[in-house]
């Protein structure tokens, strides 16, 4: 077990290293001058050189690379071209915002999806099943940003129930602690719409998967034996069928989590949610590559750590898995 953990963690580090290196070299191949990010009348060739010196871009590539890796180890992603600040200062709060949006939505989507999937599998062959399948598929097939836009259109613009986006109403003060901010009613008011959209959008996958997994489990001998044992329908479904059917779904959790975190770039854009994804999109648009690198790596870390946690979770759920 310990060896497995060490192996996994080493591989995670390797993955992050590879991605970091990839990012570094990809951006060094970028056509264009990184100092060319603002048109300012103060701009002069001299000023640009000064900026390059300040960003350390005048050094040879390998020196830049080693410095870059060294900095990453210290969680320092350099200096934003656009924002004239340390990138690390910018992303910490953003990451929290992204997690606050994505994690609860994903957990809700999974929990609901699994329960609904089990339910429609139980009701198989009926109208409930077919209509939920159609509805869920259609919902998943629509681009999430479009659904977000429609929801804003209906609930914010027309019905005026929810705010148009963002994380808090302007001018709300909640004292110093971040907790107070995230526990405030206002936060939930802003959180509700994007949360619902992400949840509804992500429900489909676990639901359909759970349904087919349940159908497979229903065919297993032990389920039949449960019936022969005189076990009640509910007990069979909740205690035996669902737990077993959930296993293959647990393996997809990291995948979906990865998609969701990656998909945050779109959803945060629609809802102006000040998270990593939005920051990254803005940074890419400004060729602010230290910020892009940092956001990308942070999103990757979330994905990779998510994978890892899900793997461990799977081991807890399925006694047959022995880590070696």
């Amino acid at each position: 077990m310990l060896k497995y953990l060490v192996n996994r963690i080493l591989f995670m580090v390797l993955t992050i290293y590879v991605l970091a290196t990839l990012m570094f070299f990809m951006f060094r191949l970028l056509p264009g001058d990184p100092t060319m990010t603002v048109i300012s009348s103060a701009m002069s060739p001299k000023a640009q050189e000064a900026m390059k010196r300040q960003y350390g871009l005048d050094k040879p590539l390998y020196r830049q690379y080693t410095a870059y890796l060294n900095n990453i180890v210290h969680l320092d992603f350099g200096y934003s071209f656009q924002h004239s600040r340390r990138v690390s200062q910018m992303i910490a709060g953003r990451m929290l915002n992204t997690l606050l949006l994505i994690l609860p939505s994903m957990i809700a989507a999974y929990a609901l999806g699994v329960i609904m999937g089990a339910f429609i599998a139980y009701k198989r062959g009926g109208r409930t099943e077919i209509s939920s399948v159609i509805l869920a598929t259609a919902f998943q097939s629509a681009p999430v940003f479009w659904i977000g836009m429609l929801c804003i259109f209906i609930f914010s613009v027309h019905l005026d129930i929810f705010p148009l986006g963002h994380i808090l109403s302007p001018g709300m003060h909640y004292g110093k602690s971040a907790l107070a901010k995230y526990l405030s009613l206002d936060f939930f008011h802003h959180f509700a719409l994007p949360f619902t959209v992400i949840t509804a959008y992500n429900i489909c996958f676990p639901m359909l998967l759970m349904r087919s997994s349940m159908l497979e489990t229903f065919g297993e001998d032990f389920i039949e034996l449960c019936k022969m044992k005189g076990m009640g329908e509910k007990r069979i479904i909740y205690k035996h069928a669902m737990r077993n059917s959930f296993l293959p779904i647990a393996t997809t959790l990291p995948l979906i989590l990865g998609w969701a975190v990656a998909g945050s770039v779109v959803i945060e854009t629609v809802f102006s949610w000040p998270g990593l994804g939005l920051l990254m999109v803005e940074a890419v648009q400004c060729s602010d590559y230290p910020v892009v690198q940092a956001c990308f790596l942070m999103i990757a870390v979330l994905t990779i750590v998510g994978n890892f946690v899900a793997d461990l979770l799977y081991g807890i759920l399925d006694p047959r898995i022995v880590y070696k």
Binding site: A138, P143, S212, A262, V266
Partner: protein
Amino acid sequence: MFTNDGGMVTVFLNSLKMVSGSKLGLAGLVVFIVCLGVAVFAPVLAPYQPLEKNYDAAGKLMKLHPPSVQHPLGTTLLGRDVFSQVIWGARPALIIGLSTAAGVILIGVNIGLISGYYGGWIDNLLMRITDIFMGVPFLPFIIVMLSLTGRSMVTVIFAMVIIMWRSTARVIRSQVLTLRERPFVDAARISGASGLKIIYVEIAPNILPIALVNVAFALAWAIITEASIGFLGFSDPDVMSWGTIIYRSFASQMSYKAWWWVVPPGAAIMVLVTAVYFIGRAYEEMINPRLQKI
């Protein structure tokens, strides 16, 4: 590659037959074929050019006109016909979707086959590479790629293929791992077949159904992803794809005033992707008898 009996064509035709056996599958197939038709005959079906500006009788630009007989889905901020744009948008959607799916399958299936069949260090290497790719955040990576390579349709496809093959490779590999242990592979080996012959003659036809399911899902994913890329403003600016239409309406800040500009392209994506999903799911249920409704 899959000539001879039980070849690719047969499997494909069989799969079509199987898909149409399910109601949802049939519906998906019909919608998909209609979309294909729309894409092919877009010049005939679309009343206007996608970027054509329309002026009213008084010579005024028809800005944001709501749906009318002349413009069934209204006009955009610069007087362009939304209906025509949506029709033309079927082309990039299908071209990008199909080529991405093809690329994904080509890479994914081959890596899966080789990795799964040969095992050992080849498998180890390929799967570690796949694992690394699994850690790559999908959309962000594509966005970064596109910001580096420029935003033509080819680079969009390339960017998607380069990252989407990973899950196909995994699925195919696990399939090959079980197929490899099947006695018919041993039987082929003792008939004197070489490794490549076993992979492509014996194993490949058997993973074709799974590969076809993956084609469907990759196709669906590619279309949605292209739309997302378009929405973030990173897709080919010269191509009026559905995602780009939505993005332009979003960027014009008029999307909440002119629903007819936003709803149709999104609905088109939804309908097409749903159809593709239905096809894939119907086929998946057919090839996995345990999922069949009894």
